[in-house]
Assembly symmetry: C2
Homo-oligomer: 318 residues x 2
């Protein structure tokens, strides 16, 4: 397995990324090899300083870097030799099996959508995120922010993709899927969720348990996969982030709130596309980069794209 990593992405690149690479090296499986995209000279210098043998990884030298101000859609043409553009071209040629970056989210999404492309039958790819539960487990929130405007069919597919993701990445056999809503009764909702609820009810593609309210999403009692549009998902996720920041800033010592630390979870995969694409947090530290790389390895191993294809072909409601 070949894991592609953008060395130039993130606020603390390339130092934090290369250090994360060196940290991940010892924890990857024997058959996993990292392929780094970025400034070769700088990368080698950081490795030399740490006494790391650069022959343990491949380095693809690139000369351009996508900056935060760059337009995501245009940047692949404007900066064809950027680490992200070269990474995606290599991924599309299947010379690497997955690609991870803590750089421009916009450019990563453009790469996922237009270079790797959605799995046939997927209306819109989405991004899942883990949310800690008070019972010690994790639940999945999907879509956590990719699609601000959704149609009911999209929420239905997020439920399918999320269910497969939870089964493979969280080891839950038949994940309970719930629809995030302003009331638990079937007749509660906005026009979008009411229509989505109608599609999901009696679904044979996943195990639908009904609506879930915002005050129940952290307790693990109702659902393993929580489905919402990306606008709502973004706000839920950011609000949880705020609570973590507040607990941290106010010196609250609590194991549950500590579990909202994004460094524990690596990056956010884009699911529903034909390969493994992982977007790391812009502020990623060395530790976060390491987790992102290990997560990319697990995702590649899980062969999710193949499983999505299979599920869409068998789509009971199609």
């Amino acid at each position: 397995m070949r894991i592609g990593i953008d060395v130039m992405g993130g606020d603390h690149a390339p130092e934090a990324v290369v250090q994360g690479v060196m940290l991940a090296y010892g924890e990857l499986a024997k058959g996993s090899r990292m392929v780094l995209f970025g400034d070769k000279e700088k990368t080698l210098a950081i490795m030399a300083q740490a006494g790391f043998d650069a022959a343990q990884v491949d380095i693809v030298h690139t000369t351009q870097t996508i900056e935060m101000g760059d337009h995501p859609a245009k940047t692949f043409q404007q900066k064809p030799d950027s680490s992200i553009a070269v990474g995606f071209r290599t991924l599309a040629k299947k010379e690497i099996d997955g690609f991870a970056s803590a750089g421009s989210t916009g450019a990563m999404l453009v790469g996922a959508m237009y270079t790797v492309k959605p799995v046939e039958g997927v209306v819109r790819p989405c991004i899942p995120t883990f949310i800690p539960q008070t019972n010690g487990k994790l639940a999945l929130l999907v879509d956590a922010g990719l699609n601000a405007d959704c149609k009911p069919e999209m929420l239905y597919q997020f439920a399918m993709l999320g269910s497969i993701y939870a089964k493979n990445m969280l080891g839950i056999d038949a994940p309970r899927v719930a629809l995030l809503c302003n009331g638990e009764e079937d007749e509660k909702g906005n026009m979008l969720t009411l229509a989505a609820h109608g599609l999901m009810k009696n679904s044979r593609d996943f195990s639908f348990v009904g609506n879930i309210e915002g005050n129940k999403i952290y307790f693990g009692t109702i659902a393993d996969v929580i489905v919402c549009d990306g606008f709502v998902g973004n706000i839920v996720l950011k609000q949880a982030e705020a609570m973590y920041m507040i607990a941290h800033a106010q010196g609250v010592k609590n194991e549950f709130f500590d579990r909202f630390n994004y460094e524990l979870y690596g990056g956010t995969p884009v699911i529903g596309v034909n390969s493994t694409v992982v977007i790391g947090h812009g502020h990623s530290s060395t530790q976060a980069i390491k987790v992102m790389i290990l997560q990319t390895e697990s995702l590649i191993k899980a062969q999710l794209a193949e499983k999505f294809k299979l599920a869409l072909n068998n789509n009971a409601n199609a």
Copy 2:
């Protein structure tokens, strides 16, 4: 001033409500008199047991109670002598100046919409809620749940109503109004917020400061009034409730998290209607009922409906 109170509403009615009434009695202004709607015999018995002089309040005897299973829209016809139906008829006749209940939210909304009715020009009334800020102040979230599906014009009006509410109830001279969004940049949003943003930008009806993300709503640094549709508002509010419950359950001692306790804030007013209507939490304790009554007094005093009318007549963007 005459403050109407539904004695039969809430999980712990009538005991908790009558006890809340007796507790509020000493804190109300001299000119304020409470008018109770409900079972007179039971009310008098609770007062007698506490040694409270029942002549300090008016009691309107009613014979029916709206239950949680009753259909809100039909219940006014089916139970014309329920405490909520009689309360609203009395309010419409202006024999009381405001009406508060911890009973059926649905019936209270129906009463507000069809008996008291929206202020002329208001597309849809809404419910604001306070959210604690780490700087010790409060911000307003509006709509906190009344309107699951909104149009851009509705969000614009929520901003107007919320701005007036914050000015009068929080004493903020020119409240900073922000639109809850999945990104702070002007071009971020879903179709609804993008259109609303366009209307709000350059508004002369309130002081618009742009978009606010979900991780910024607790810090007081950006906005005093946070506008969203009622679906999103409900989820934000419930999620904050979950965080309070978790902090509480896990024995976290922290002043900020403690401020999410709904008992501190009384009920939720329905704003944009022609009178003062306050909906208390179903679980309301004696303490919560007391705060709800004092809040109703403040709201009546603030004459918000008159101020809304004036603002709508002067609506700069109309």
